[in-house]
């Protein structure tokens, strides 16, 4: 961090922001004691996945887009598959929907465990990183790694491998696992559930800044379950709209300081997606153990303190473990792995709940199924404006801190969103400026 001298203005530049996926920069401008501007800058070159998809076959988007992120490839596969199936009028059987949910549970477990234990917890416990924290909290980190591995095991059994799974496709799966294969996951998931509940207890006891924001939340919601692989949109203003109307409600705009597009919700402006939004809009959809854990953690029905997102993530690991066990216990052999996918021209939309929030895909297909147009709106891009709003108020209240501490707390505030800048374009680096 550097500081350029000046009577009333100064500038602080912080190097690469560690412990967020990708590279970008956060720039906060403070002028005569007042925060005047906050920018989340993303300077990694765009990766042009949407252009890359044009001209490809309708069968390819799930596998191609899964390569956008090594942490949430299932989210890309699921949203892409739903969108293509929507365009082609394909309805998958119940066992496929269940297996998609199980695969997604694996991704939630491994992604949330990684973020909680290796990326965010060091902030709360006052360590520069996971290595330093591990020296004093070996058992805690071991538990995190065990959880992450449980998620990876689910992805390996259902998806064929733990990173960039290969078993999912448009219309279903290449192969369904057997009862024996899924039953073998049971002890792993029971241990994971125990570890997840211990995680909730651990993070519920952390110290959280007194910081709440009046967010507009956006998440998916289903008829009965906590949203992962399906649902339609709901907002904290009780606006409801189907996935197909996403483009009418959410607009993306170019901003000068970032390669990622900023999203705005019609009638509300900046909004927030992710664990806090999901939880606050679906508290009544929590399975029993997760609801009890949330209650004991003192979360309440809604949560507007972004620093408590670490608690919500822990509760969501409980959700994923419970849901995974539900699918495993109810599985039977002899199901249909996939349905035929007749080709036709059409437009399709798909949205699922990636660990970091709603991931939306839209495809236009030609008569022969060729992708003519693709649109991908990842969660971090939707959250960027919300992160900037957080930082604006957060820094304003902390201008009395010395620069190093202010920087550390800003980094922690950004990590509240587990920003996957790689998904938003790919590579993040933090800059905070005071003038």
């Amino acid at each position: 961090m550097t500081q350029a001298p000046g009577p009333q203005t100064h500038e602080i530049t912080v190097g690469t922001l560690a412990r967020v996926e990708g590279e970008g920069a956060m720039r906060v401008v403070v002028d005569a004691g007042t925060v005047t501007d906050v920018q989340l800058r993303i300077y990694e070159p765009p990766r042009f996945f949407e252009a890359l998809l044009r001209g490809r076959a309708h069968t390819e988007p799930p596998d191609i887009t899964s390569r956008i992120c090594g942490i949430c490839p299932v989210a890309y596969q699921m949203s892409a598959a739903l969108a293509i199936e929507d365009a082609l009028g394909v309805v998958v059987p119940p066992e496929v929907r269940l297996l998609r949910r199980l695969l997604y549970c694996g991704e939630w477990i491994e992604s949330h465990a990684l973020h909680i234990y290796l990326l965010h917890l060091p902030d709360f416990l006052g360590y520069p990183g996971a290595i330093e924290m591990s020296a004093d909290h070996r058992d805690v980190v071991q538990r995190g790694l065990r959880l992450k591995r449980a998620g990876n095991d689910v992805m390996s059994v259902v998806g064929g491998r733990s990173v960039h799974p290969v078993n999912a496709k448009v219309g279903g799966f290449h192969r369904l696992p057997t009862v024996a294969e899924l039953t073998a996951l049971r002890p792993v998931l029971l241990q994971a559930l125990e570890d997840a509940l211990a995680t909730v207890k651990l993070v519920a006891g952390l110290d959280f800044p007194d910081f709440e924001q009046d967010y507009t939340y956006v998440a998916l919601r289903t008829e009965s379950d906590y949203p992962l692989e399906a649902g339609s949109f709901v907002t904290s203003d009780d606006v409801r709209f189907p996935v197909a109307d996403f483009g009418e409600w959410v607009t993306e705009e170019q901003v000068e300081h970032s390669h990622a597009l900023h999203a705005r919700l019609r009638g509300a402006g900046p909004f927030v997606v992710g664990p806090l939004a999901r939880y606050s809009l679906n508290h009544d959809r929590l399975p029993p153990s997760a609801r009890q854990a949330a209650d004991e953690a003192g979360l309440g029905e809604t949560c507007r303190n972004p620093f408590r997102s670490i608690v919500v993530r822990a509760v969501e690991i409980v959700v994923a473990c419970e849901e995974a066990l539900r699918v495993v216990d109810g599985w039977s052999d002899g199901g249909v792995a996939s349905v035929p996918v007749p080709v036709r021209a059409g437009v399709g939309h798909g949205a699922t709940e990636a660990p970091r929030g709603v991931l939306y895909h839209r495809y236009e297909l030609a008569e022969d199924g060729t992708v003519e147009h693709a649109q991908i709106v990842p969660p971090t891009s939707q959250n960027q404006a919300g992160i900037e709003l957080d930082l604006r108020r957060f820094v304003q209240d902390r201008l009395h801190l010395d620069h190093d501490e202010l920087r550390r707390q800003c980094e922690q505030a950004i990590r509240n969103y587990d920003p996957c800048i790689s998904c938003a374009t790919h590579f993040l680096d933090l800059t905070v400026e005071h003038r």
Partner: protein, 154 residues
Amino acid sequence: MLLVGVGNPMRGDDGAGPEVARRLADLHVEGLVVATGMEPLALLSELTQPTAYDGVVVVDATAPRADPGRVRVLRESDGGWAVPASPVASHALGLAEVLELARVLGLLPPYLTVVGVEGSCFDLGADLSEPVREGVEEAVAVVAGIAAARADRT
């Protein structure tokens, strides 16, 4: 003994580790369990498995230093590897960070060696470069030699 080949086969010479692992898996070297991973955290996952390994060899591509294909064998006892003071990425810890994390957590087996193959081209979609192909041959022989020596000892 566990062998882990780390790297992304879709990024040119970064695929050296997985290629060495693939070749060794085909050779069915006695006493050698072979695993590959896109990124070093995969190694940590392997080490947290209940199965205890008495030794680990990690094969990874190393940064270009004007000698592509050169194979370097690094032992922790020789001074080990420096952990970057400021990690660039998060969700993908570097190999040195993962090894240090494993050491702190008490997961490292008594024997640990890193075999590096110096890369030159890490472009998306590229194949292994010719010098790295030759380096892969050498690395396979090095690891097979280590496995044989350790098998003889036991």
